[in-house]
Amino acid sequence: MVSSRLTPYYFLAPAILATAAIVLYPVASTLWMSFHDFVLFRPHDVPFTGLRNYQRLLADEAFWISLWNSFVWVGLAVGLQFALGMAAALILNESFAFRSFARALVVVPWALPSVIIGLMFTWVYDYNLGLLNDMLLRLGFIKSPVAWLADPDIALYAVIVALVWQGFPFFAVIILAGLQAIPGDLHEAAEIDGATRLQRFRHVVWPGLKGVILTALLLRTIWVANSLDVILVMTGGGPGYATHTLPLYAFLRAYSGMEFGYGSALAVVLTLFLISVAAFYVRRTMREAFR
């Protein structure tokens, strides 16, 4: 066989070089920028400032608000996505007339662009013309329209609802795949032994799903923690700092404020939080992928 020890590396080289240029280089230079005072319009005068960007962050109220919002955002959005996705997967695993139709349609939210999801929900939440206010008024749940996206106490939760809608199909699909990997005779055996449905879930379904669920939860946590396009479209981070999350704040600092050094420091802090989660995830999947 014409094969040298170098052969696999020839196949890998293009992908590795490209990834180094477009991912690793930018990541390294973000790290570098976070220790400098980098302003786009004087690219040749970049003084080294050491940890000053990081010190500034500790005293920055907007940073702490964004950090707290990020926790609320990840906890609620991922938790609810999981709950809804789990329920959806259990339903779609049963047999009924329009099952394949339902299985296909449930992925629709996942296929839509974040910008469109942001627009759709902004339209549904509209104070003057929105569907939500109209329906709640007709049903008598509220007496006057609610400013869903303009009220600082509500806005974050209103955006989270949009994100839950976008992300639940991911869980539904992954958990459904996991459910189908559980052999049917296990169910039958448990049923013959007189197990109730709850017991069957606890002792047959849950052990078979644990690995899949953990993988999905961790992956989704990282994606949700990083995503900012839905908020950007719906509220732009406002009112005030009410819907600022860490990645959004970093982005706004760099994009509108042109403070690349400070924005980079914020991005690095976000990444440090996520690396701890990612390390856990990678260790697990690697164990599974390389049996």
């Binding site: 696999p8 992908a15 991912v23 139709f101 349609l105 296929a111 627009l119 990997a181 049917g184 999947t285």
Partner: protein, 278 residues
């Protein structure tokens, strides 16, 4: 499994929840589509008009005739097709290496490609913007495509590797024993067998690139502007004309949604293979 539930019980426990699920998944999109065919007067009325007396396509006509939207659609198409070509061109060989060879650093490199998927975009976008600016790639198709390659390549490698692992190694080994060269084996045996997986991965990259917003916004501008960025800009430029926006949103989402529905089973197969088989 024997199901001893009665007809009514089945309706309330399975069929009704399934129907509600479909409504939840489709309602916001349906509401956007309905709004897009309402005359402007109906859109601006409260209490809400649920179905227009006279549905109209005027917003679609306006969008295509009076705005930059057709050009934006073309830009999105060019960017997404290029991102697919670049992503697959680099990932197919890499996935082949991961799937068919044991070599030093294999595990480390695979871990890297998985980890890269999880880097925050904000971590990359600032230096990419600076780099593209100094290379003169800002506001060009290659600039945006390179931005999209940051997620396309690692993801495609991961997915293609799991597809290729599903094709028995014995097949291509047999061909090579019979005297086929490595290139012949790949072109004549492996690629045809892997075609469904490659197509699905390509479609996934296409959809992700078509839907992407942040890179497109940072790295594009006047010359190149994808639909997602253009739609967002309409909010400012036209003091929220919901007719135009909802028409644009409906149009942008339709082709990718259909594409996604069409291949979702293959996609999910590749995506979950690694996670489920433990």
């Amino acid at each position: 499994m024997i199901d001893r539930r009665s007809r009514t019980q089945r309706f309330f426990e399975i069929e009704l929840p399934a129907a509600i699920l479909i409504v939840i998944a489709l309602a916001p999109y349906a509401w956007m589509a309905i709004t897009s065919i309402k005359p402007t007067a109906d859109i601006a009325r409260f209490p809400v008009v649920y179905w227009p007396d006279e549905p109209t396509l005027i917003h679609y006509a306006d969008l295509l005739a009076r705005t930059t939207f057709p050009k934006n659609l073309l830009d999105s198409l060019i960017v997404a097709v290029s991102a697919c070509a670049l992503g697959l061109g680099l990932s197919v060989p890499a996935a082949y290496a991961f799937s068919r060879f044991g070599f030093i650093g294999r595990r480390f490199l695979m871990t890297q490609f998985l980890t890269i998927n999880m880097f925050p975009i904000v971590l990359m976008i600032i230096p990419l913007f600076v780099a593209m600016r100094s290379l003169g790639l800002l506001d060009t198709v290659p600039g945006v495509v390179l931005g999209h390659a940051t997620f396309a390549i690692p993801f495609a490698i991961w997915m293609l590797t799991s597809y290729l692992n599903g094709i028995p190694k014995e097949l291509d080994e047999a061909a090579m024993v019979d005297g086929a060269s490595r290139v012949q084996t790949i072109v004549k045996i492996l690629l045809p067998l892997a075609a469904p997986g490659i197509v699905s991965t390509g479609i996934y990259i296409f959809v992700a690139s078509w839907n992407e917003y942040l890179f497109a916004m940072m790295l594009s501008g006047q010359n190149v502007r994808t639909v997602t960025v253009a739609l967002q800009l309409f909010i400012g430029e036209y003091t929220i004309q919901w007719g135009l926006l909802t028409a644009g949103g409906t149009l942008v989402a339709l082709p990718v949604t259909l594409l996604f529905l069409f291949v979702q089973r293959h996609l999910i197969g590749g995506l979950t293979a690694g996670a489920v088989k433990s």
